[in-house]
């Protein structure tokens, strides 16, 4: 069942019609519609949103660490439709010892680096990502800096050479 | 005044020796005067700060070779122009026609190359 503020929101309604299990929640806080999606149906939903509602741009992919809550990570997608001048936020909640969501690079190739960044910073795996490796941190870096349990000053004071 | 060959060419020899000495001196001076330190990173080939990938001895576009070929053949033509130019006043129209024939044939080759696209560098090979 769609949450109250999204009852009239066309994309949400369409997704709900397509598969009721797709949307697990949502809100429209401060005029920004947000849909919580089931990670299993993420790709399907994204495909639909891109084709039907012209969300041809993925503005960004990022994540929020809700540590110590579980599921711990929210992977956040910001979609943008130039045609309708509209933005939409999607969220996938994942947790567990090896958090993983499907990669949306097959829908928007531009998600590539953003997903790598999330992988780098949060340690969330993206299944079927073409080139999932660290992007900002050195390849041999240990840990994922943007996790809440990663101290601000880092685990080590010296760099490996 | 210098008239004989040795006298005419003597200054050239002196200048050449001097130029060589200057060149060697310049190159060796900093080798002699400058301080010397060596380390592994400094000694490695410049590769924008990364460890070099592959060998520098790679082969290159055949275009360079084509240019060299074309250059050789036209350079000969150019060398023929000088004795021609020097005796031009004596022979006038005769020399002109001769050279016209010569150049026409060589230029035919030039346009052949041009048409073949050997001079087109932007095209991928």
């Amino acid at each position: 069942m769609l949450p109250e503020p999204l009852r009239d929101y066309a994309p949400a309604v369409a997704l709900e019609e397509l598969n009721p299990a797709m949307i697990v929640g949502g809100h429209a806080d401060r005029g920004e519609p947000t849909l919580y999606l089931n990670p299993d149906h993420l790709l399907e939903a994204c495909q639909k949103l891109k084709e039907r509602f012209a969300f041809i741009r993925i503005s960004s992919v990022t994540a929020v660490d809700r540590y110590p809550e579980e599921p711990r990570f929210e992977v956040v997608y910001h979609l943008h439709s130039l045609e309708n001048n509209a933005r939409l936020r999607l969220k996938c909640q994942v947790g567990g010892p090896a958090p993983a969501v499907p990669s949306v690079t097959s829908v928007w190739s531009g998600a590539n680096w953003y997903e790598r960044e999330v992988f780098d910073m949060f340690g969330v795996e993206f299944r079927d990502h073409p080139d999932l490796r660290r992007i900002l941190m050195p390849d041999d870096w240990e840990g994922h800096p943007l996790r809440k349990d990663y101290p601000t000053h880092g685990h080590k004071y010296s760099y490996k050479d | 005044m210098p008239n004989s060959y040795p006298e005419v060419y003597f200054p050239v020899v002196v200048q050449a020796v001097l130029a060589f000495v200057i060149a060697v001196a310049l190159s060796s001076l900093s080798y002699l005067l400058g301080k010397r330190t060596r380390d592994k990173v400094k000694d490695s080939p410049y590769e924008c700060g990364m460890v070099p990938v592959g060998s520098a001895r790679e082969r290159f576009s055949v275009k360079f070779y084509l240019v060299a070929i074309v250059f050789i053949l036209f350079d000969i033509e150019a060398v023929f122009l000088y004795p021609w130019a020097v005796v031009y006043r004596e022979l006038k129209m005769f020399a002109f026609v001769e050279m016209l024939l010569f150049i026409a044939l060589v230029l035919a080759g030039f346009f052949y190359i041009w048409k073949k696209g050997a001079l087109n560098w932007s095209q991928s090979d």
Partner: protein, 105 residues
């Protein structure tokens, strides 16, 4: 000071002969097509020296003209010869003379 005794004409011809022989040696010994080719150029140069020397002996300019033509031929030869080497290298992937002694693979 500079207008001294001069050099026997023979010396020039001898030098030419020595260079020619070295050219032959290179031609026979070397296995790299390009070096072999350069040995040929060396022989041509040796011959040119003889031409110019004879031109001096007979006080005529003809030897120079011959030399000039030899240069032209050498240039044409180099252009075509190196093109052949390029093509051969493309097909056989080697510059060793021994490996390219047959017309067919």
């Amino acid at each position: 000071m500079l207008s001294s005794s001069g050099v026997p004409l023979n010396w020039y011809l001898l030098l030419s002969a020595i260079l020619f022989c070295i050219g032959i040696a290179g031609f026979l010994y070397r296995r790299n097509v390009i070096t072999v080719f350069m040995s040929i150029e060396l022989m041509l140069n040796a011959v040119n020296l003889s031409f110019v020397t004879f031109s001096y002996k007979f006080q005529q300019v003809d030897g120079h003209i011959f030399t000039f033509f030899v240069m032209v031929v050498a240039a044409a030869e180099a252009a075509v010869g190196l093109a052949i080497i390029l093509t051969v290298f493309k097909n056989r992937k080697t510059l060793q003379v021994d490996d390219i002694n047959s017309l067919k693979n």
